[in-house]
Amino acid sequence: MPAATGYAQAMGHHGELVQGLFEDTGGFLKRALVSLPCPELRAKASFQPDDSNRIITLQPDRHKALLAAELTVAAFGPQGMGGALSLESNIPIGRGMGSSTADVLASILAVADCLQITVCAEQVMHIAVCAETACDSTLFQQQAVLFAHREGLVVESFRKALPAMEVISIDTTPGATVDTLEFEPARYATAEIEAFRPIRSLLRAAINAADARMLGRAATASAHINQRFLPKPRLDEIEAIGARSGAVGVQVAHSGTVVGLMFDKRDADAPRNIGQALDMLRRSAFEPTVFHN
């Protein structure tokens, strides 16, 4: 039985750059997304093993993370292994920022750390989807992926990581929360399904060329389609401010409340543009914050 406590972290995100329905290599349509990782937002898990054959957590509201730890122990741990799972996180809840998934991923990885094993991404994703029916793509840092979040499968792996961006975060409905898993998946119309094809092409071109400007356009188109399903109030006002302040696009949490104004980090004017956008947003009674991706 391992004796040392395992530790791990997982990242939150600021919604998605793109989310929709995309053909896989077999010609089947899959729900898939590209998360916008947010390294400042993290869940940290620790797992202290014992031989009680039972896993406990002092945070009873984290039952999905607990289930993920149980599944990981069942898959890789020795007979009779139990332990105590503990979590802390600075990821806002119910905003579509991946708080629950980050708890789940950190828990799986903390158990793996405790067992001193490396679990491949496919297995981590499989356990995560079993524990909470969906997962995001924050685990894929070196290469961006188009990720089938309800199946835990990579639909397409791009050649590079996401280009560097600065994002102004705006919570469009600070009072309300969205239960990501209760929220019914979007029923896309044929026109929308076909529109996702060029969006995917531009997403691929943008990532492979490390071009934040093109990425902004793909994200904006995806955000517009999403307005029919989980509309973000005043999105048009945020876009107008972005257009006047050199933003490259908007992105949204497709199952949450946040909107991001995207800026190209390589643009020398970015800091000034962001300052200008923050002023305009505050004057329009938004409460913006900045994060780096």
Partner: protein, 346 residues
């Protein structure tokens, strides 16, 4: 194999080849463009239950849409009935017949709407007679433009962001479908529609059209006028001359609507250096060896080769008489906004 894959045996034929012409002007050259909307319309109709296995497909066509349907009908085991007119090329008719299509020829034009209207009237009678028959109706079927999202994706894959899209307009499917999908990503995209004199699509008074595949005497619902920034009208002689020029200068052996698109696209590209321009070229030249590519036949065309303009004349209204290549700044308006409320033809 997915159901979609089973229906896409001819998929490699429906995608365009991208050919650089000059600078940042590219041809999107199709073997037979209509294979894409035809396949897509049949797929969606099958999904919805509108087209049952083995049911008869009926359509009015004297051109490439009929051929595309005939090729797909063979693959998917549907009987096909095509209503056409005397303008149907004899080689095409032979080919359609070999593909098992039943071809019904209309001889007499309708009092208004010409042969196109007369064909639709006969088609309607067949649809009534054949229970379970399915009419794709490329002019009004919203799946026609929707099918072109795939082409928009391919253009981005091959050339990146697109600044200007130029193409012939017949049903409106390709130009409006691609423009809408590209504009969701590049809102400033400039579009140039190519039409021909006597076609009602962009406000010319209706008259006899001698250039198949371009324009029409009936306004299709799939023509979304608000997608167009600029319209060019080329006479048949001008389109044929441009088709030969495309062949001689770039080696592309295409049909006359491709030539017309090439001419308008080249003109726009010359005036907008550095902009990425795509010219849609809907079909290859083989169907036209006895006509457009035959010097004797060409000699019988009014205005060949002397009345060909080498630049468009900008007109103040699309209702003006157009003896040669003309151009109008449409500015994404509706037909009504352009022609004014008093026009009776709308």
């Amino acid at each position: 194999m997915s159901k979609n894959q089973q229906m896409r045996k001819l998929e490699d034929f429906e995608n365009p080849r991208i050919v650089p012409l000059q600078g940042t002007l590219f041809a999107a050259s199709f073997f037979l463009m209509k294979l894409l909307p035809a396949r897509f319309m049949l797929e969606r109709a099958t999904e919805r239950g509108d087209l049952k296995p083995g049911a008869t497909i009926c359509e009015s066509s004297s051109g490439t849409f009929g051929l595309a349907l005939a090729m797909l009908a063979v693959q998917q085991h549907h009987p096909l009935l095509l209503v056409s007119d005397w303008a149907l090329d004899r080689h095409l008719q032979r080919r359609l017949t070999e593909l098992g299509a039943r071809v019904s020829i209309v001889e007499v034009p309708a009092a208004s709407g010409g042969l196109q209207r007369a064909r639709l009237e006969r088609l309607s009678a067949y649809l009534d007679d054949l229970p379970g028959s399915y009419w794709p109706c490329q002019y009004d079927n919203p799946d026609n433009p929707l099918s072109y999202g795939k082409v928009a994706a391919l253009l981005i894959d091959r050339v990146g962001p697109v600044d200007c899209l130029v193409g012939p307009v017949g049903s409106g499917g390709s130009m409006c479908g691609i423009a809408r999908n590209l504009r969701a990503l590049f809102p400033e995209l400039h579009t140039v529609g190519v039409d021909t004199p006597n076609s009602v699509l962009f406000g010319q008074p209706s008259g006899r059209i001698n250039l198949s595949g371009l324009g029409g005497n009936i306004l299709p619902a799939n023509v979304d006028h608000t997608q167009f920034d600029e319209i060019h009208w080329l006479t048949p002689a001008e389109a044929y001359e441009a088709t030969h020029d495309l062949h001689r200068r770039h080696g592309l052996f295409m049909g006359p609507t491709s030539g017309a698109a090439f001419r308008a696209a080249g003109w726009w590209a010359d005036r907008n250096p550095g902009k990425t321009v795509i010219a849609l070229m809907p079909d290859e030249g083989h169907r036209y060896v006895d006509t457009v590519y035959d010097p004797q036949w060409l000699a019988s065309i009014p205005g060949w080769p002397n009345s060909v303009r080498d630049a468009p004349v900008t007109v103040s209204t699309p209702a003006d008489p157009m003896p040669g290549w003309s151009r109008f700044e449409w500015n994404r308006r509706t037909l009504k906004a352009v022609l004014g409320p008093g026009d009776a033809s709308i």
